[in-house]
Symmetry: C2
Subunit: 316 residues, 2 copies
């Protein structure tokens, strides 16, 4: 009666060894809960993120790429708070315990965890009709410091950490040829996570978030929570295709790139540019400014209002 | 362009107000991440738990009961570590944003959160073909104290916090008449979470876990991690039906009750009985003892070995 169901074996095999470790972990994997230490001068930032097969990624995409994207998207929320990644818990629902898929998924997860410096603390593997990946991430923040959505002030500049649109424009290729690798699919499967930049922004930004549902829709979150108008100049936005391209508007309304959108007082311009240089963000640009008006997003092109058909990703 | 997708509205409406709060929360809901403070003399215990419709609960069960069970099952892992519940993150995948279902689910979640004293810190709502509920829970532990699976010693008593089997025996009723309420379905939808008892056990137990996959299968986890034989006397186990009942063996191999299974040196017997009285556990009983032999679970009835067809729930 010492036999174990296959679940325990597969968890042990693929989700224990070879992941990053850190000094804040007292206990990880294999008990009812993991245990961490939070240093006395730090707070803990936490976020949870779900990706569903054929909703958020193609079910038949290579598993190591699915893992890369899932973990990067989750950790991006920590970057948007200015937090330093500490650990994550993984809840994985699978139709069957497919060795080959799991081996590939674990390889991608492990590699991405090392790239982002985040430890796997524990998890749960369940059976279900479709693949669902939920990742709960956490990171450390200096006590009482954080980037939030509610601090944008009239007169602030609006900034974008880099070019948007490539990941969204990769979708057709990703759906029809999941294993094909292009510059755009690279942006989709391996979105940059601006961990170091987020921490630098703690000293200058008045508001910040990571763009997951499209620039315009996410800008509206800052507008609403800060009670300001976000005035954005279309010609200043770094995009994957030029404004003359018929796909340009999708760059503004598609999420998927996980660039940071943030606001900061104009006196910090040169400091922000220096930070961007430090972390090698060559397309970090000002894209507009904050106005003292009703919570809204105004998009203009050469001074004229520009209205797009949708503002971003609709979850339901 | 200040419009929002329905997701944001539904999250705001059902998953913000009316949940317990506590002094360790700096920021909850509505930003990229939540932020908590962990007191300097405490560690943070964390666990993640997924329930899939028609795998872990009937899809057509009343939503408030689904919420109750999901949160209780997740928090039970904290009780099994001796931790005090602090907060949780909820990842909810739904086929559609059904107002009535969400209202009922939120009512059950809120009530259960108050019963267990745990705050809702944040979440993610996604669209998918089936309902999947993932809950990441966390609780506080005195620094360097915890109940683990690996500490059982030869000579220790084996204890069970209460009767097992009712929740498993409720399954037929739960599947065919999800809204019917009996003593057994009560055990299924509202499993007791032994939070206070778990904390008392910190001072006496050598190993502990909560039974989610069946007594025998979970006993094997302690056996394996502690490298001991768990010798269990069938006639001592408090069960929902007597040993003469044809369903008795299901009580030992079905999970679902979330009783604590723990080991402790014999000198603590009277203290454990006093603890059980304090928290009103009238069926907390010794069910066997730990033997210095290979990692194994031995079930005996009146001194004779008893072999059951299965040891517990098979996840795949």
């Amino acid at each position: 009666m010492s036999e174990h169901s296959s679940e325990f074996d597969l968890i042990r095999r693929y989700f224990t060894d070879g992941y990053p470790h850190n000094e804040n972990i007292r206990l990880s994997n294999g008990d009812d809960a993991s245990i961490i230490i939070v240093p006395t001068d730090m707070d803990l930032a936490q976020s949870i993120d779900t990706q569903v097969a054929d909703v958020h990624f193609p079910a038949n995409a290579p598993a190591h790429l699915i893992a890369s994207r899932a973990l990067r998207c989750a950790v991006s929320d920590l970057a948007a708070m200015g937090a330093w990644p500490q650990g994550f818990h993984l809840a994985l629902t699978l139709a069957k315990a497919d060795e080959e898929w799991l081996a590939s998924f674990a390889t991608g997860l492990k590699q991405t965890a090392h790239e982002l410096g985040i430890a796997l603390l524990g998890g749960d593997t369940t059976s279900g009709p479709i693949t669902v990946i939920t990742i709960a991430v956490q990171g450390l923040l200096p006590q009482n410091e954080r980037l939030v959505r509610s601090g944008a002030q009239a007169g602030d500049d609006i900034w974008l950490s880099g070019s948007i649109g490539a990941a969204t424009l990769a979708l057709d290729s990703v759906i029809h040829e999941p294993a094909r690798q292009t510059e755009f699919t690279q942006a989709y499967y391996h979105p940059q996570v601006h961990i170091a930049f987020g921490q630098l922004l703690l000293t200058v930004a008045s508001a910040c978030l990571d763009i997951s549902d499209g620039l315009l829709q996410d800008a509206a979150h800052i507008a609403k929570q800060s009670k300001v108008t976000m005035h954005i100049k279309a010609e200043w936005i770094p995009t994957a295709v030029p404004i003359s391209n018929c796909h340009w508007s999708r760059c503004l309304t598609g999420g998927d790139d996980y660039q940071l959108l943030f606001t900061a007082p104009p006196e910090y311009r040169s400091r922000i540019e220096a930070f961007a240089t430090t972390v090698e963000l060559d397309q970090c640009q000002r894209i507009g400014h904050v106005i003292d008006a009703a919570a809204n997003v105004e998009l203009c092109h050469n001074g004229l209002p520009l209205i797009l058909a949708t503002s971003g990703y609709q979850h339901f």
